[in-house]
């Protein structure tokens, strides 16, 4: 499954480790929520980066106390038709102030790449290699955006409002 970061296909530096497997030393790991919450204290002493897979049926606000020790947050699309993680992503970026990497995992397909980018994902774990190869085409399919979202693309509404999201945030 090719990983796309900011438009480029990149090597995945994180190793996904199941809850019952030992954590390898010295490598970045991506772990499930249960393990993360159970071992949160111990993980604070770890030298290598830790990422967590936050499930889409758990309020994202609960991640707030842990943000400082995370290097990656992955949000899950169990099916591409299940859009809960879009809201989680926007809340992470716009409400909780997460600026680190935010990865879309699961049933991640080409026709949703643009929505993911607009909701604040900067890493996309594509299911199909052909989709990953068509990434640029997919996210450039539109030049017109009606509503403001998390990304920096200018929206018609914002143009009409005569201000930028950055202007509102600061």
């Amino acid at each position: 499954m090719p990983l796309i970061e900011k438009g480029e296909i990149v090597a995945d530096l994180y190793v996904r480790v199941a809850d019952d497997e030992p954590l390898p030393e010295g490598v970045a790991v991506l772990i499930g929520i249960d393990r993360f919450l159970n071992e949160a204290e111990a993980l604070k002493g770890r030298q290598a980066p830790v990422g967590v897979i936050w499930p889409n049926n758990r309020p994202i606000a609960e991640i707030a106390p842990h943000l400082g020790q995370l290097s990656l947050i992955a949000l899950n699309f169990p099916s591409f038709r299940d859009g809960r993680a879009y809201s989680q992503a926007r809340l992470l970026r716009e409400r909780l102030g997460w600026t680190g990497p935010l990865r879309a995992i699961g049933n991640v397909l080409r026709d949703q790449f643009l929505l993911m980018e607009r909701s604040g994902f900067d890493q996309i774990d594509a299911v199909k290699p052909a989709d990953a190869a068509a990434f640029d085409e997919a996210v450039q399919a539109y030049t017109v955006f009606y509503q403001p979202a998390t990304d920096a693309r200018p929206s018609l509404l914002r143009q009409r409002l005569g201000r930028t999201l950055a202007g509102v945030r600061s």
């Binding site: 309020p59 591409f80 038709r81 299940d82 859009g83 809960r84 879009y86 809201s87 989680q88 926007r90 809340l91 409400r95 397909l109 026709d111 949703q112 643009l114 929505l115 993911m116 607009r118 909701s119 052909a130 399919a141 539109y142 030049t143 017109v144 955006f145 009606y146 509503q147 403001p148 979202a149 998390t150 018609l156 509404l157 914002r158 009409r160 409002l161 005569g162 201000r163 999201l165 509102v168």
Partner: protein, 551 residues
């Protein structure tokens, strides 16, 4: 009319190109049918019993003559020469080939028409009063706000894969023609005591297998805060709406399960965090949209001109006038409803020829504007009263002057078993048969205002719960049966109908409806007591006794 600018046109062209590419990938196998389905649905493409169906949005029910003419063209070239107007200000074409869909769509896009978000689990085409900007009853043109919502919701990155479809309706008049109380979100635009414009916000209304009347969660939302409040509602729903069971996924179930108060609290909390953000509507932003609506340059005319009073001496014209013409806010003008329910024809169907006639007449007499209402009729919102006789003659010649608007044979019916893969029973033939029983329009007029709604299954596309007489097709041992309800209504006093008694067979339905109507004629307090009011006064019992005794 709302004038599209270069942005809107660029967006539409990009959307068509994207869909063309998706169809190509489907045909090559790169996309599975499972993966393709939501994509085509969000472009209005259904797979039906016989073929693909294309559903086209008529945003807030407003069309111009060129657009209607293009629909006629699509009906003729890509379909079988007709289209079907639905209860949600859409038109459907039932016979289009998948390979030809992008062509048909590109042709429609040239006149700014599309099927975007007419289906799928997204925010759907926002509907409103078909008399907008014409009725003296309204406090503002509700289409301005529908357009703001249309833009906001178009390809919304966060709300394109909601738990289920999401329908918003707006009324700006005291008399609600948009059925806002049976929508996921209903917005009642009004002015508060200080004269400011704002919305009463209702959530959780809807029909289908678990019907609910919407609950008010905010009596007054300042109009310029509309988008942030809607975003708060959507965000709560997107995160907490049920996804484990498709039948429990609408917002009405969430609101019902946690209670309107809890739901409202969650919305208010979310709203507090975003209301001063990028979605706040400035006066300039609202004015920008408002300025893009082009209004007719009305002449200074008198009410009831001589040409009209003279024509009213013809009893046929007078009958149509009494039935199909309503008061306009500008002196000397009227609102004209065009019945798409000629006795015996499928409700809401219009042939390509008829669409062209209506387009021509709109150009000649109605500032090129046509409206579509949820009753599946068309409307010319701005007709000079002096032109009414000529308009009537032309409509009459085209079979479009049946004076049965709001009468017992102005029936709302879904496609039912004739087209729909989900149907239990026929709906259109039932409507046709009932209409025939009341083909004597003098009799129908004697009965007065009476809305019959028919759905071919529990999904309630024909809004049977809110019909004064509701008819629902069910299946029993492989046979078509029908449940009858009385006393439903979709207006500002919205309520769900009450079951009359055991389901009856296909053959029994028309006779039973006649018996119900006869019972009403005997029991009503006088000719001014409408059917719906008699049912409210007496309940269904006296009807039940009479009707089932007879069968």
């Amino acid at each position: 009319m709302y004038a599209y600018d270069e942005f809107d046109r660029a967006f539409l062209a990009e959307r068509v190109a994207e869909f063309r590419d998706q169809v190509g990938r489907r045909l090559s196998g790169a996309l599975s049918e499972d993966e393709f389905k939501p994509l085509r649905l969000m472009n209005g493409v259904y797979l039906q019993l016989h073929a693909y169906m294309l559903r086209i949005a008529i945003p807030y029910g407003t069309l111009n003559a060129a657009q209607l003419r293009r629909m006629a063209h699509v009906a003729r070239v890509y379909d079988r020469g007709y289209g079907h107007f639905t209860t949600r200000q859409n038109i459907q074409f039932n016979w289009i080939k998948l390979e030809e869909l992008p062509e048909a769509m590109a042709s429609l896009a040239e006149v700014g028409v599309h099927g975007i978000q007419t289906s799928g689990n997204c925010i759907r085409n926002v509907t409103t009063d078909q008399w907008a900007a014409a009725t003296p009853e309204e406090c503002d043109d509700p289409r301005i706000w529908a357009e703001i919502l249309r833009q906001y919701s178009t390809l919304h990155p966060e709300f394109t894969y909601l738990p289920r479809k999401f329908k918003i309706a707006i009324t700006a008049a005291g008399h609600d023609r948009a059925a806002i109380k049976v929508h996921d979100v209903g917005l009642r635009l009004h002015r508060n005591e200080a004269g400011e414009l704002g919305f009463e916000v209702l959530v959780g209304g809807g029909l289908g297998r678990t019907p609910f009347v919407g609950k008010s969660i905010r009596p007054f939302l300042p109009a310029r805060e509309l988008l942030s409040y809607i975003e708060a509602i959507m965000r709560v729903y997107n995160q907490y709406g049920r996804r484990d069971n498709i039948y429990k996924a609408r917002i009405k179930i969430l609101v019902h399960e946690i209670g309107a108060e809890e739901f409202s609290k969650a919305v208010e909390a979310e709203w507090a965090a975003i209301r001063d953000g990028a979605l706040h509507l400035t006066d300039e932003a609202i004015a920008e949209i408002r300025d893009r609506f082009i209004y007719p340059s009305f002449e200074t005319l008198e009410n009831e001109p001589a040409a009209l009073t003279e024509a009213l001496k013809d009893s046929r014209f007078a009958t149509w006038h009494r039935n199909s013409v309503q008061a306009h806010k500008v002196p000397g003008y009227s609102i004209v409803t065009i019945s798409l329910k000629p006795v015996g024809a499928p409700p809401g169907d219009a042939t390509a020829d008829q669409m062209e006639v209506v387009a021509d007449l709109a150009e000649r007499y109605g500032f090129s504007e046509i409206r579509v209402g949820h009753e599946q009729n068309l409307c010319l919102p701005h007709v000079a009263q002096k032109d009414l006789p000529a308009l009537w003659a032309a409509l009459e010649a085209a079979g479009l002057a049946t004076p049965n608007v709001n009468l017992v044979n102005d029936i709302i019916a879904c496609p039912g078993l004739d087209y729909c893969a989900l149907a239990n029973a026929r709906a259109i033939p039932v409507a046709q048969e009932i209409a025939k029983r009341f083909a004597d329009l003098d009799r129908a007029r004697g009965v007065g205002r009476l809305h019959i709604n028919i759905s071919g299954c529990i999904n309630a596309c024909g809004h049977h719960h809110v019909g004064h007489i509701g008819i629902l097709g069910v299946e029993k041992n492989g046979q078509e049966f029908y449940q009858i309800t009385l006393g439903g209504r979709a207006d500002e006093h919205a309520q769900l109908g009450t079951l009359l008694g055991p389901a009856v067979s296909y053959e029994q339905v028309p006779g039973l409806v006649e018996d119900v109507v006869d019972t009403y004629m005997e029991l009503r307090a006088g000719p001014h007591e409408l059917f719906i009011d008699t049912v409210a006064r007496l309940g269904v019992e006296p009807f039940k006794e009479r009707v089932y005794a007879a069968h």
